[in-house]
Amino acid sequence: MRPLRLLLLLPFLTVALAGPAAASDGADGFIRTLAATVLPQLTDPSIPIEQRKTRFREVLNRDFDLDKIGKLVLGRHWRRAKPAKRKEFRKLLENYLSGLYARRFEDLAGLDIKVDGVRDFEGWSMVYTTATRANGAPVLLDWRVDSKDGGYAITDLVIEGVSMVIAQREEFSAIVIESGSLDGLLIKLRMRIAG
């Protein structure tokens, strides 16, 4: 089994790019641009943690489709939730993820991402890449890219065959089932964000 360390990235391997990539570049162009221009800004070891969090939040809202991710990770609990609860969950998810991943980017400076190929599905593409750290084993890192506002947005990361959306969905679902309602999950998320 390869080192699990890169799994730490979960959904956030991207970062601040100036506007969505042009549609003509294709989904692989979008990922290439992100890896070349945005990733270094996020992994720069000299920036303070608060600034890193702010940058992530920007990237999350621009280069990821948080609405879709929220829907995917909640599954049927999303369909049953009232609009106010959905909105609350969406906000908590954003806070939870930006807090969680800011720290994880600190020791990823010099991460190299090479595009292996791309497959187009109906309405979305899978961009297959290999990520290599300075002295680590290569890790298979695949990006699910959907179209959003005429450009592209990331909706899932598959790290060594593990879909982060599916992993998160199972974890969240276990909490909803255990506590009996979506509120149980919202409480847990709020507690975690508060530290």
Binding site: G117, V118, R119, D120, F121, Y128, I166, F172, A174, I175
Partner: protein, 291 residues
């Protein structure tokens, strides 16, 4: 008539007796696995949403015990290992541990009908045994034969056995009925362990898996600490990770098209789609529409 005489077969070697017991356990486990993997009878109501974890309360208990053992024994041992053993030595240890898995990998390659792969495995074993000082140096990887692993759980999968309910095994950790059966078979059928036992080195199989475990724990120290600290429900997170990871390993080791499964909501899915093998054919960029 004297009926107190000893049974005739009392001289059966102890090892054979032990093996028979283990074989019996393993057969039961295999049958359990097969039964679990068989589709339920037609006309039945669809199962309610589940994680395919009917033993969840028991699993959570075993998981908690494993976590406690990890905290007080395995994790400290992994930290000490990383501190006192220099990096080149650790690399050598990892190479030897991997090298010793190759004979059983070869058996599985053959059982899965992976002829080309079984040839690669055999070649790798001979190169590293002869030139790599009994596996201490990974010469074969530099010759284009990187380490690949497979196991009997994957072999069962290639024969069409489904994974069955999730299981947390004492000490061994996350598993499922099929992979647990695979582990039991490995316990009796690994050629290297059999050779060790024949040579009266009965403790070696245990030492070998102990070293492999500490090495794995050390390699993943950061990641596992982080997961444990940040997961909202660590048990559920590990369960999701294990299931997907195994599906991926089984798929890539048997080159079987992953048809998907049932997700935590009880809905069928075929996501993520199988990853194309970009190492073959040399194509750097492939585009093809979805089926």
């Amino acid at each position: 008539m004297d009926t107190s005489c000893q049974p005739l077969a009392d001289e059966r070697p102890a090892l054979l007796g032990r093996l028979r017991i283990r074989a019996a356990i393993c057969m039961v486990a295999c049958l359990l696995g097969l039964a679990a993997a068989l589709p339920s009878s037609a006309g039945e109501e669809p199962q309610p949403p589940s994680f395919n974890d009917p033993l969840e309360p028991l699993n959570r208990l075993v998981f908690a015990i494993n976590e406690a053992l990890d905290t007080i024994i395995l994790r400290p041992a992994a930290i000490v290992y990383g501190t006192i053993v220099p990096d080149p030595v650790r690399r050598g240890v990892r190479n030897v541990v991997r090298h010793l898995t190759l004979p059983f990998t070869f058996v599985n390659d053959v059982a899965q009908g992976e002829w080309r792969r079984s040839g690669d495995t055999a070649q790798r074993f001979f190169i590293n045994t002869m030139v790599g000082f009994a596996g201490l140096y990974d010469v074969a990887a530099k010759e284009g034969l990187p380490h690949r692993s497979t196991d009997f759980g994957s072999t069962l999968a290639s024969w069409g056995v489904g994974d069955g309910p999730y299981l947390v095994l004492p000490i061994a950790g996350p598993s499922n009925v099929r992979d647990a059966a695979g582990l039991l078979v490995q316990g009796v059928a690994d050629p290297v362990d059999i050779a060790f036992r024949r040579a009266d080195m009965d403790h070696m199989p245990l030492i070998r898996s102990g070293v492999a475990t500490i090495d794995f724990r050390h390699t993943n120290l950061e990641a596992l600490d982080d997961f444990k600290a940040n997961a909202l429900d660590y048990y559920a997170f590990v369960r999701a990770l294990y299931r997907q990871r195994r599906a991926f390993e089984v798929e890539s080791s048997t080159e079987m098209y992953l048809k998907g499964g049932t997700d935590s909501e009880g809905e069928a899915y075929s996501y993520p789609p199988p990853r194309p093998d970009f190492t073959r054919g040399g194509q750097s960029l492939e585009r093809r529409p979805a089926q």
